[in-house]
Structures are given as structure tokens and as C-alpha cells.
């Protein structure tokens, strides 16, 4: 089984993967990325703020970064790559009140993949909600994918604001 990087794995996996994640995200000048120190291998590694009007906003999402040297057995399924991860969603993620993603990098070819851990799901009836992801399918991490992520997260916060305005 392909393992994901943990603190006991080669030093370069975590460092390089986090740097790759920051490099991908900061291709957009509206994303402010901060490293998040966590004791847990399943915790958040990055906190990403969506900028607004040239400055910061309160709209954040979290990223857990994992890596492996290579993907030995990717299962291509309709364009998705399924790579088993030793650390999926955890109780830590369940308590997080904002969207969270998994970024996964393979070091030998610097390919990036992602999936939601906690996905924003606008629910017109009950207000915006977050769903813990059940699928382990990974999708290629491209600039277009990051654009979609930002759009989804922004839309979720819009719904959050609308729900609070309605309830108030």
C-alpha cells in the first residue's frame, strides 16, 4: 500500500510537499498562505485565506499536505486517481468549522492531486453545510482546479453570511 508522509518518513517528503503546495497556491495572488503547526500527522498544514480587495478576509480553508516518493498503483477511474492514504479524515477534521482539502504530491514527478476532506455543500434548505468526504478519489491539482476550489469556498461563505442574515 502506498504510504503517505508522516513525521517518521524522509525529511524531504514533508518539506518539499509543503513547498509545492505553497507554490501551487501562491500562483494566485488572492490567496494568502500560512503554515500551521500541528502535532498530529492528520492535522492541518496550511491555512489559506482568500484575499479580498487587495487585502485579507475572514474566508479561510485548510489544507492537509501528504506526499509519497512515487505512486506505484494509481487506479485511474474516470480521470480520478485513487491513491491510498494512511491518514484520511479524522476526528480532528470533524471539529474544524471550515472547508478542508487534502493535497497529495508524488516527489519523483512533482505531480499534485487533491480531494476534499471537508467539502462545502450549499444546502438551500438548511443553509450552508460541510460534508466529510467519503471518497478517496484524487483529482489532478491544476490551476483550474484551484480556481474551482476558491469558487466553491467563496460560495460557501456567501451562503454562511446569508444564513446568518436570515437567522438574525
Amino acid at each position: 500500500m502506498l504510504g503517505a508522509a508522516t513525521k517518521s518518513q524522509p525529511w524531504y517528503l514533508r518539506q518539499r510537499a509543503e513547498s509545492l503546495a505553497i507554490m501551487y497556491l501562491t500562483r494566485r495572488q488572492d490567496l494568502i498562505v500560512a503554515r500551521h503547526e500541528s502535532d498530529s500527522d492528520a492535522g492541518l498544514d496550511l491555512l489559506v485565506t482568500i484575499g479580498r480587495d487587495g487585502g485579507s478576509s475572514g474566508r479561510i480553508f485548510g489544507v492537509t499536505v501528504k506526499a509519497a516518493v512515487s505512486s506505484h498503483n494509481p487506479h485511474r477511474n474516470g480521470g480520478h486517481t485513487e491513491i491510498e492514504s494512511t491518514n484520511g479524515a479524522s476526528s480532528y477534521h470533524q471539529d474544524i468549522p471550515f472547508p478542508v482539502l487534502l493535497f497529495f504530491f508524488t516527489m519523483k514527478d512533482d505531480q499534485g492531486y487533491f480531494r476534499w476532506i471537508k467539502e462545502p455543500v450549499p444546502d438551500r434548505k438548511a443553509g450552508a453545510s460541510l460534508l466529510m468526504a467519503t471518497s478517496s478519489a484524487l483529482m489532478p491539482l491544476t490551476d483550474a482546479a484551484i480556481e474551482s476550489i476558491v469558487v466553491e469556498v467563496d460560495a460557501w461563505y456567501d451562503r454562511q453570511a446569508q444564513s446568518e442574515t436570515t437567522a438574525g
Binding site: 524531504y12 518539506q15 509545492l20 505553497i22 507554490m23 494568502i32
Partner: protein
């Protein structure tokens, strides 16, 4: 908190310097020193065999969105004279790294005293690709190989080391 451009440049530099050379992984181990260090941004160890002396060097990373000069394709980064001189004063090898953030490309030049004036642009003769990294690794390794490993006689020897 360092600015976003600097953070991006440091991430790009780390990615470039930790590219794999063969199946054993990277040949450099970079460590960011933080915003408070005046002139040096990273200390970088050479990855060597276990038990061997560990050579290292320092770099200052300068990141730009302004691209290159048209006439000679030099990268538009600036380093003030005091920083150039401070880098040259380190007895360890020191280099200035220019990062083109748009192309996610980096370039290395020596800051070991060859020039002691401010820098208004940086040569792109030495891109941070595999051949350049191998030359850099060898250069730093050769430098430290001239140092006898036991050159220091310390006053702080623990007589009862356990």
C-alpha cells in the same frame, strides 16, 4: 511576517533545491532561517553519506515579478551593497539566488567577495537546474574538504561526557 512574494520565492527555491537526483532523493537540505536573520535566508546542507562531514552554505533569496532586462536577460532583482558585503564576510560559501516567480525558475550567483558593490540585476547564466546543482554541490564539497574536521580545540569540553 514576510511578504507574500518573499514566501512564494522561498517555496519555489525549496522546490528547486530539493529536486531528486537519482533514486536517493535530493542532494541539498535547505532550512529557512526566518525573517529575523539579517542577510541570510537559508542555510543549506549537502546530503552526504552517514558519518561524513556535512558541508553547508548560505544563500539570500531575492524574488521578483518584474522579469528580465530586455538587453541582456538579466533578472531584475536588487541587493544593496551592505548585504553584498555582509554575505562576503561569512567564511562559509555564500550565494545569491534570484527567483523569477512567474516562471518558477531560479538562478544562482556567487556572493563570496568577487564583487562588493550593490547588485541591480542578476545574471541568468546559472539556472537552478540539475547540472548547476551538481556543480554547486561539488563546489561546496571541495571548499569544506580543505578544512580539517578537527581544527577546533574547544575550551568547553565536558570531561564526564555520558
Amino acid at each position: 511576517m514576510r511578504d507574500a512574494l518573499g514566501q512564494r520565492g522561498e517555496a519555489i527555491f525549496t522546490v528547486l533545491m530539493t529536486e531528486f537526483h537519482g533514486p536517493y532523493g535530493p542532494i541539498f537540505r535547505p532550512q529557512f532561517l526566518g525573517d529575523k536573520w539579517p542577510c541570510v535566508d537559508f542555510v543549506i546542507e549537502l546530503v552526504v553519506e552517514a558519518g561524513s562531514m556535512t558541508p553547508y552554505f548560505f544563500v539570500q533569496v531575492k524574488t521578483t515579478r518584474q522579469g528580465y532586462r530586455h538587453k541582456d536577460r538579466r533578472l531584475k532583482v536588487q541587493v544593496p551593497k551592505p548585504h553584498v558585503c555582509a554575505l562576503a564576510r561569512y567564511p562559509a560559501p555564500t550565494y545569491i539566488i534570484g527567483i523569477d516567480e512567474a516562471q518558477e525558475q531560479g538562478y544562482v550567483v556567487s556572493a563570496n567577495g568577487e564583487h562588493l558593490t550593490s547588485m541591480s540585476s542578476l545574471a541568468t547564466d546559472f539556472p537552478l537546474n540539475r547540472p548547476t546543482r551538481e556543480v554547486l554541490w561539488s563546489e561546496v564539497s571541495r571548499f569544506w574538504s580543505a578544512y580539517p574536521h578537527s581544527a577546533l580545540t574547544s575550551a568547553f569540553v565536558d570531561p564526564n561526557w555520558r
